[in-house]
């Protein structure tokens, strides 16, 4: 029996501030340094509110010695109060608490950690990059030129990382939407650099119209369809909830919602209708929401008072979802696996969320058992890897070859998990 091909549809990578400089025009370096300092201060101020401290320490203990990325409220307080120079040194220290883990930027370490986890291939979403490039686009007060420079430096850096282990890492390009002609150019550039994971749509469009504006965004949808670059949303952005104690729970319980919104925007503006080859992926935004969304949309379109909404749509919302959309279900918790038939096992793509604490790494095998122990083999294979091969165009033979070395047996997954 062949090993299970595992592709994580949700991993993250990011470098230290200095790593991006070779990929960024010199004129932006000083402003980027300044941005990192401000960003770090904000992070330090809020550290400790995000994850439960006891759970954090437990994660630190089991996630090994691969580098930093360990949240420690005391060290954070010191860093917050440090001078600019001290904070900068801290930011550039690969062993500091705020530094990305080594596997986020060293290709050999990364591949080893993926393979130790049983994973043959992956999608790479951003961590923080210069000028807030990535998931938090439009949360930071920067100029369009800085935003572009940040995105470009991240994409170029990412392409170099991915190309060290060809075919294994599907990098997802970041763009902004300040000028759609520029966005289109960036998508072409990303495609040329080999970022075959697709394009991350900013969750917020800032002060620009949202994605239901047909006239504004049409060239972006066209180029993504033309180049077969799936468009992604990924939870991360939110409005600023301030520094009150309920800010983090609000963030955690609303963050999925913001990244779900583009589905309706593309639906109603006819994007799915006009671009049947365009693929859209919703990552780490939960699973059940799409069922509730489609349930309500079914009802709305059935109401005669809204008959004019669907005049130019040849399919129902449910049919567009079926034809073009996918769920990057990340760690796919046990409480959502029961929804798999309603959503479709061909729609769901598992992901480890490496190296995030809320993900499965470095305990992926046991987490898989929690969710999949009683799921049929074919369904497991689809959700853990085969769907992602189809959606992103991984080389199936190469993935099977890797899986033959490092993938789990189906029986490793179809067994009771160890008690937590």
């Amino acid at each position: 029996m062949s090993r299970v091909v595992m592709i994580s549809s949700d991993c993250h990578a990011g470098g230290l501030p200095e790593h991006y400089k070779p990929y960024m025009e010199k004129e932006f370096h000083a402003a980027a340094d300044q941005w990192w300092l401000e960003y770090a201060r904000e992070m330090m101020k809020r550290m400790g509110t995000f994850f439960d401290q006891e759970a954090t320490e437990e994660f630190n203990a089991r996630s090994g010695d691969q580098g930093a990325g360990r949240m420690d409220p005391n060290a954070a307080k010191q860093a917050y109060e440090a001078s600019d120079q001290e904070l900068w040194d801290f930011l550039c220290d690969p062993d500091s608490m705020i530094a990305p883990r080594r596997g986020e930027y060293l290709p050999d370490v990364r591949l080893q950690e993926l393979e130790d986890d049983g994973i043959a291939g992956e999608l790479i979403f951003p961590q923080m990059a210069p000028f807030g490039a990535g998931l938090m686009q439009y949360r930071h007060d920067i100029s369009p030129a800085q935003s572009l420079a940040g995105n470009q430096s991240y994409n170029r850096w990412l392409a170099d990382l991915c190309n060290k282990n060809p075919g294994r890492h599907a990098g997802v390009a970041v763009i902004n939407v300040d000028d759609i002609d520029v966005s289109v150019k960036e998508v072409r550039e990303a495609h040329k650099m080999g970022l075959f994971g697709g394009v991350l749509l900013p969750t917020s469009t800032g002060t620009h119209p949202f994605y239901h504006d047909y006239r504004r965004y049409e060239p972006l949808w066209s180029v993504c369809e033309e180049l077969n670059m799936p468009i992604h949303t990924h939870s991360g952005w939110s409005p600023d909830y301030g520094d009150v104690s309920a800010a983090t729970p609000m963030y955690i319980s609303e963050v999925d919602m913001w990244a779900q919104r583009p589905f309706k925007a593309l639906l109603w503006s006819g994007v799915f209708e006009r671009h049947p080859g365009l693929k859209m992926v919703f990552t780490e935004t939960g699973c059940g929401w799409i069922l509730e969304t489609l349930r309500v949309l079914d009802f709305k379109i059935d109401n005669p008072i809204f008959a004019h909404f669907t005049t130019n749509l040849s399919l129902t919302p449910r049919e567009y979802f079926e034809r073009q959309c996918f769920i990057g279900a990340s760690f796919l918790p046990r409480h959502e696996i029961g929804l798999r038939y309603d959503i479709g096992t061909h729609k769901l793509m598992w992901g480890s969320d490496y190296p995030h604490m809320e993900g499965t790494w470095p305990n992926t095998m046991n987490k898989l058992r929690e969710t999949f122990h009683d799921v049929a083999e074919g369904e497991i294979r689809d959700m853990l890897g085969l769907n992602a091969i189809d959606v992103f165009g991984f080389d199936r033979a190469a993935m099977e070859e890797a899986a033959a070395r490092i993938g789990p047996e189906i029986g490793d997954i179809q067994q009771q998990p160890e008690a937590a």
Copy 2:
């Protein structure tokens, strides 16, 4: 067998521009007139995009001759292009297309139309009032002083309307959240004027922090609990989706979401914990959303990494909902009645949404049959009226007396609807 006591938990009322002037300080009159003109121009520009025209004409044909409120795209275009004086005359003409129906502001007509519909009592939410007082609070570019003047004029006008038929109309007061001490004063004022329906929480807080900010909003929750004034959210507000063709479908499919948000804000900031007597009602925001919301929250609070979120909460989100929250389910469509046991039949309150086209008026009896024809009598009685008596404190004897005259028999509801 006693007649069914019907209380509509969702009706609307509003007057002509001149109706509010006796309730507003003179210094605001000129600015209010100007605001009405701008508002009317925006409405006229967008008219025709909102509801399907064929469905609109069908509604106009069956909703009788009680006044205006009839959307006609051609007349709207003329009004949009009219001079200020012509537009003002149009706004003040009780027979114009943009005017509220007479039942929205004439107490005798209103009561007659309610009773013809079988309804003994009602909650009254706003239509548009001066300076955008009401559902669209914070959508308009006005000063805090103007906003307050608009809200006060609406509340005073509404109290006079309600007090014409004592005990029958539970008016809901409108407030803004520019200065919470002022908001508290307005709640006390509304209570004194007899607006026993409660307080409408603005869906958007504009540039102010959202409702999860414990320090800012605490006095508001305290006064509402003290005076037993339920707080409401009601769908209506949205960000401006612009003038593109997908704007209205986006509005229709996101408008519920914006008004659902305060649930999590009050939950996480401990409002339900600290104010066990405070009631919260979600009106015309759908029903199924609360099940999906609670399903996801159950999962979040069960995750050790978020253990710190619930340190100060003695109940689960589901338990707070059960103790303090209610769904103003409006017309409660057939496709949601199947959810009644999951939500709780004691949580759901039907409403006609009078005089809105998307509601049941003036075909309430047939709409009730569509939804309730096979529902048990006790459940029907709870959802159609008894729950609302408890939540808002209607006089039960008075409601039963009215129902004995004008309420339906249970058998009128428990029968197959006529084909649409």
